[in-house]
């Protein structure tokens, strides 16, 4: 219903938009070492919203993402996506990790259609090639479809993994520090690309990061997590106008928001 509407320019959380993801009373204790990685997490993602979670390393961000994606079962609580409980990996969830993780024996194009090939077989994968080429053009890799990953730079490989995530038209994108292995210039560029792609695809995205600037520049809302046990301590609405630009990093408002989050996290959390 909100599909055709433009994103709200000022109000952060698309308050009117339909909830896509609902997480209630979520907790996780790893059976192996009785370690409580998450307690009492509640969160709702709305259609078209970009939400980030920041927190020091080891505070349970990846655990939260793995539970949301159905890779890991929660100890308590429920995770519901598009009205259906998440009980395992699903094709309407797109994931991206810190490493691009492209298979070296497959070309860029073959890597991108891998999820289709695994889920629906070779015929469906062949049928998805035009869509894959379209996605490659979307991320500026149009000329690299038939190249092997060894010949791609780090940034190009991550762009290819964005395509692989988008190929099955997921309802939500779960991103676990996707650009943190890239150098800073590439990373800034990739963040702007991600913003553009999310806007074009009207994607709902959930980003884990330990970069405050990255979180602020991309997000409608930021969730701040604290460790031992991992929990969400505050939600911050980012009221910077969209589309965001890298120049906004130099605005006073941007500085205020970053300072506020840094205060929340305590000085020791980020160098």
């Amino acid at each position: 219903m909100t599909m055709a509407e433009p994103r709200p320019l000022t109000a952060g959380p698309a308050a009117a938009a339909r909830p896509v993801y609902q997480i209630e009373r979520l907790s996780k204790t790893y059976a192996r070492n009785r370690l409580t990685a998450l307690t009492d997490v509640h969160l709702t993602l709305h259609k078209g919203e970009f939400v980030s979670v920041v927190g020091s390393s080891g505070c349970g961000k990846s655990t939260l993402l793995k539970i949301m994606s159905g890779l890991l079962p929660p100890t308590t609580g429920r995770v519901v996506l598009e009205g259906k409980p998440v009980t395992g990996p699903r094709d309407d969830i797109g994931m991206m990790f810190q490493q691009a993780t492209l298979l070296p024996w497959k070309t860029t194009l073959q890597n991108i259609i891998l999820p289709i090939e695994i889920r629906q077989g070779r015929a469906a994968a062949r049928a998805a090639i035009p869509r894959a080429n379209e996605l490659l053009r979307l991320v500026g890799l149009g000329d690299f479809a038939h190249v092997y990953p060894a010949e791609l730079s780090g940034g190009m490989a991550q762009r290819a993994s964005i395509c692989r995530m988008l190929i099955s038209n997921p309802a939500v994108l779960l991103l676990d520090e996707p650009f943190s292995a890239l150098d800073e210039l590439t990373r800034d560029f990739m963040n702007m690309e991600l913003q553009r792609i999310c806007a074009e695809q009207r994607a709902t995205a959930f980003l884990v990061t330990h970069s405050l600037a990255e979180a602020v520049i991309l997000s409608d809302r930021i969730l701040v997590m604290k460790p031992r046990p991992g929990r969400i301590v505050e939600e911050i609405v980012i009221d910077l106008p969209r589309p965001r630009t890298l120049e906004m990093i130099n605005t006073p408002r941007f500085g205020e928001i970053v300072a506020h989050i840094r205060d929340l996290l305590g000085k020791e959390a980020f160098q």
Binding site: S69, L71, G88, P89, R90, D91, I93, M95, F97, Q98, Q99, T101, L103, P104, W105, L114, P115, I118, R119, Y148, A150
Partner: protein, 282 residues
């Protein structure tokens, strides 16, 4: 002029390159061979430091090389023997690959294999396998079968170990990716773990190629029969050292052929693994 350097001059100097890096590889190899043969010739034919029964001169060895080569080329009894050994090596390698790969997948892919089967395999692997030769002869006779069994037995273990190690080689990220796109266990095995493990598996196959040669010849030494090993033993028992040398050289061609067949297959199948390229022998 004085030693005052011109501050505006280019600071160019010659980057030193070692002599060995400047000559082609085949030249270096030939040069080494020439030196070794010259010393060999000096020690045997010219100075007679070494008895010809222990070490024949290069010329004697060459004469026997030509004799054996003529026999092989004319389809004589030596060709027959070489053919017997080749068949032994071929079957043993095939059997070792099939059993080694299957057990490797069992050990590398299943908890049962890892926990229950692997300890026994390690125990057997530590035994001196040649000691089983009399058993194989007792079970399978003096024909080719007992040699095939011994050679396969020796060559199976490196393939098991390398296949299992190869299946562990896929990274945590790659496993998570496959899980997140809903891959089944078999899909993960065939589309991720086996391709990722291929370089390891080929390392095992190369070790097995060497092992299968050693096993076949040992079997022929101990169990008689028609193979090249038996020829070598006969020549050695009559102190015909040049003949032994010549036979060993031709035999090594068989080993090299097997090794390079495996290396060639690896290049075709593992085309993406650049780490294996320099040198080509790896």
């Amino acid at each position: 002029m004085t030693a005052t350097p011109d501050p505006n001059a280019d600071t160019v100097w010659v980057e030193p390159v070692a002599l060995i890096d400047r000559i082609p590889r085949w030249v270096a190899m030939l040069a080494l061979a020439a030196v070794v043969i010259a010393i060999w010739d000096l020690a045997t034919a010219r100075m007679a430091w070494v008895s010809p029964i222990i070490l024949p001169s290069p010329a004697e060895t060459l004469a026997d090389l030509i004799f054996v080569g003529q026999n092989l080329a004319s389809g004589g009894y030596m060709l027959e023997a070489l053919w017997t050994t080749t068949r032994t090596v071929f079957w043993a390698f095939l059997i070792a690959t099939a059993i080694g790969f299957s057990l490797g997948v069992l050990v590398g892919e299943t908890k049962f294999g890892e926990r229950a089967v692997m300890p026994y395999l390690v125990a057997i692997d530590t035994m001196p396998k040649v000691a089983f030769a009399p058993l194989f002869i007792a079970w399978l006779g003096f024909d080719i079968a007992s040699k095939v069994a011994l050679a396969a037995f020796i060559a199976t273990f490196p393939i098991i170990v390398s296949t299992a190690a190869g299946l562990y080689a896929a990274s945590e990220n790659e496993r998570m990716l496959f899980k997140s796109i809903g891959a089944s266990r078999l899909q993960t095995l065939f589309r991720l773990k086996l391709p990722t493990g291929l370089p390891h598996i080929f390392t095992g196959l190369k070790i097995a190629a060497v092992g299968v040669m050693a096993g076949a010849i040992t079997g022929e030494f101990l169990g008689g029969g028609q193979g090249f090993g038996a020829l070598i033993r006969q020549s050695a028992s009559t102190m015909d050292t040049p003949r032994v040398f010549a036979l060993i050289l031709y035999l090594s061609l068989l080993g090299l052929a097997l090794f390079f067949a495996v290396a060639w297959l690896q290049k075709r199948l593992v085309f993406w693994n650049k780490a294996d390229r320099p040198g080509g022998v790896g």
